[in-house]
Amino acid sequence: MARKLPHKDVVVVGLGWTGSILSYELAGAGLDVVAIERGPWRDTPTDFPPTYDQDELRYRIRHELFLRPAQTTFTFRNKMDQTALPIRNWGAFMPPNGVGGGGVHWNAETWRFLPSDFVLKTHSTERYGEKFIPHDCTVQDWGVTYDDLEPHYDQFEYLCGTSGSAGNLKGKIQEGGNPFEGPRSRPYPTPAQPQPFSHRLFGKAAAELGYKPFPQPSGNLSQAYTNPWGVKLGPCSYCGFCEWFGCGNYSKASPQTTVLPALILKTNFKAFDNSEVTRINIDSSRKRATGVTFVDTSGEEWEQPADLVILSAYTIFNVQLLLLSGIGEPYDPVKNDGVIGRNYTHQTISDVIGFFDKDNYIFNPFISSGAIGMCIDEFNGDNFDHGPLGFIGGGYMGQVQTNGRPIQLSENVAEGVPAWGAKWKQFIRDHYQSTVVPGTGVHASFNSYRDIYLDLDPTYKDRLGRPLLRITMDFHENELKMNAYLTDKFAEIIK
């Protein structure tokens, strides 16, 4: 039987970016706020100090800062007629864990969506006709526009201290920025980061091909910054241990470096860590949430009543919690009705690796930051004519290499070079300094489809006996075509 805690105005489920910003705003408005976080409290001096943060094995390979699959995972299948199996250890995609959420380990690439992204359905139909969107693609307009969100993008960038070069100031195109971006009301709060050698070369090559390269907007700061909530960040030191790692240097924008120090001082805010919300409680009308139930590390169950319940965990866990709590109508892809779990999407990523002449190029790839890089936006969104190409969507591309970490980089050899032995060793020795591995070189869209969705798994359970969330997802023809087209364009620049 759950023990009941005193009533609060607001309970926040998940203390990452969204949870911490909302907690700050709502506590600032005078409401009593409690946040409940599944993972531990995390902070720079205890969890990722510069005395041992630079550890590729611990943080990148073994995923120290991420959720343990033993705590919860999800099941996965490509097609509806397959049996979904549990992800037993993380592959390419893994959820974070703990206070700060994904804001701890992210690259801090701080882009805005394009104005046309918000109205993709209407925009594509008007430009290319109704039949252009694939028939099973369920893309919709967002319901809010770029103009609605601009003040909030601006507020977030000034919270983070984002480093970048504006491309469109109040409708006026700026030299050196992204000419395709929506109009911004102010310049970035800090100037763009200086670019290492390979990143600058990419910018040069792209410009020679007639593109308009610009520095990627970065939450790794080019200089010290104090944000509007009085929290201070330091300048980035280009350590090359950024994404998958916490920042030991207070120079990557995260809840820890921009929000939590101010939030924690508020007397009407508190947080429970290592506590997992198991259910949203609803009243007998089934229309109103009355609070949440959670378990702590000893297995004890608690009830936290509140007027307002905010779901600010990662999307798929928000969906799982709604389904487990019996809220809303679960999506049914066969009948094509219901809402919860519908229109799940992800991203497409591809890469082209460039092996340069070892006698003429020393890239020092370890000098980098998580969101460094020179990018182009010519092939993002609807910035190019899709008419003759037969697909929708796109992405940005660039030399955005974040590191020279050798365990992972030593996987990359040219065609015909073996994966082990003397030839492998010689290749790595010769080419480590002259190889370009952009990583997320082509970072592109993934539209929603009728057969890509989330629901509860019929077989596999988490440690508390609750069904795991099941992901059904596969690339569609449109995404493969789009990705192949963009990757070819990217390869031309790398060459």
């Binding site: 531990p40 902070d43 001096p45 205890t46 969890d47 100090p49 510069p50 005395t51 041992y52 630079q54 590729e56 094995l57 073994r62 120290e64 991420f66 343990r68 033993a70 996965f76 299948r77 490509n78 397959q82 992800i87 037993r88 250890n89 592959g91 390419a92 995609f93 200086p194 290492p196 300048p235 030191s237 280009y238 120090p261 001082l265 508190k270 947080a271 860590d273 290592n274 590390t297 000893s298 591809s350 082209v352 460039g354 092996f355 190029y361 020393i362 020092n364 050798p406 365990i407 030593s410 065609e415 082990w420 060793k425 790595i428 480590y432 997802m473 990757t487 390869a491 790398i494 060459k495």
Partner: protein, 243 residues
């Protein structure tokens, strides 16, 4: 030029270390900082083997020395401590699937669904090494892997890589991939974990290791970074009297 597409949920076998054992706490009024609450990595045990038997040590050292062979400039996997690294990893959370999802039912899936094996890395090595030596003995006149000449060792590893060596309860190809990955980690991970002895792997490629501040260097292009690598534990020269 090489082209590579990363599919979501690629089947990379990636495991997880134990994190600090957190108990639920209430955080109110200040950040819950305590002195000495940090959790630095535990140095590997390097003066003896803690998981492998003496026979296994001979086999593993022979394997890692073919995956990364010695040459006049750089030591091979054996002298770089790759076997010591793998030994420590198998004795720890990596070896036992700690933190992973191990509930049944176990069934084979597609490559996109990741590893569905119920055999822990520790068990994979224990069985796999024995099976490999059994294969060598039956094919090469009773000799174990370590007793074979280098060219024959490479042939055997090539057969394992191709999947033509039968192992009990596991796929030889996958086992070989794990060994290659683990050996590379032993060559390039921080020396605190028992491999990359004397930072040999880092020196070979010019990686400066656990350095943290390149502000003076970010705009110096096409110029070799001149400073030697450092480990999380520092560098021998910084602690006189300690090798």
């Amino acid at each position: 030029m090489q082209f590579r597409r990363r599919d979501i949920l690629a089947a990379a076998a990636i495991l997880i270390m134990a994190q600090r054992s957190g108990r639920a706490e209430i955080i109110e009024g200040r950040a819950p900082w305590k002195p000495r609450a940090a959790n630095p990595p535990k140095p590997a045990i390097t003066d003896r083997f803690v998981f492998f038997t003496a026979d296994e040590v001979r086999t593993v050292e022979a394997i890692v020395d073919r995956i990364i062979p010695p040459d006049p400039e750089t030591p091979g996997g054996k002298d770089a401590g790759c076997a010591t690294y793998i030994d420590n990893q198998l004795a720890g959370p990596y070896g036992s699937f700690e933190g992973l999802y191990t509930q049944g039912p176990f069934q084979n899936g597609t490559p996109q669904q990741g590893s569905q094996s119920s055999l822990t890395p520790a068990a994979q090595y224990r069985q796999g090494l024995a099976d490999l030596n059994g294969y060598c003995k039956s094919k090469h006149g009773g000799k174990t892997f370590a007793q074979l000449p280098d060219e024959t060792k490479d042939e055997v590893l090539g057969e394992l890589e191709k999947g033509s060596v039968q192992l009990r309860d596991q796929d030889g190809k996958t086992f070989f991939k794990h060994i290659v990955k683990d050996t590379r980690e032993g060559f390039f991970a921080d020396p605190i974990y028992g491999g990359n002895r004397d930072m040999a792997g880092w020196k070979m490629i010019g990686f400066p290791g656990a350095r943290y501040d390149y502000r003076d260097w970010v705009s110096r292009h096409n110029e070799r970074y001149p400073y030697p690598p450092v480990s999380i534990q520092g560098r021998a020269g910084w602690t006189p009297g300690k090798a």
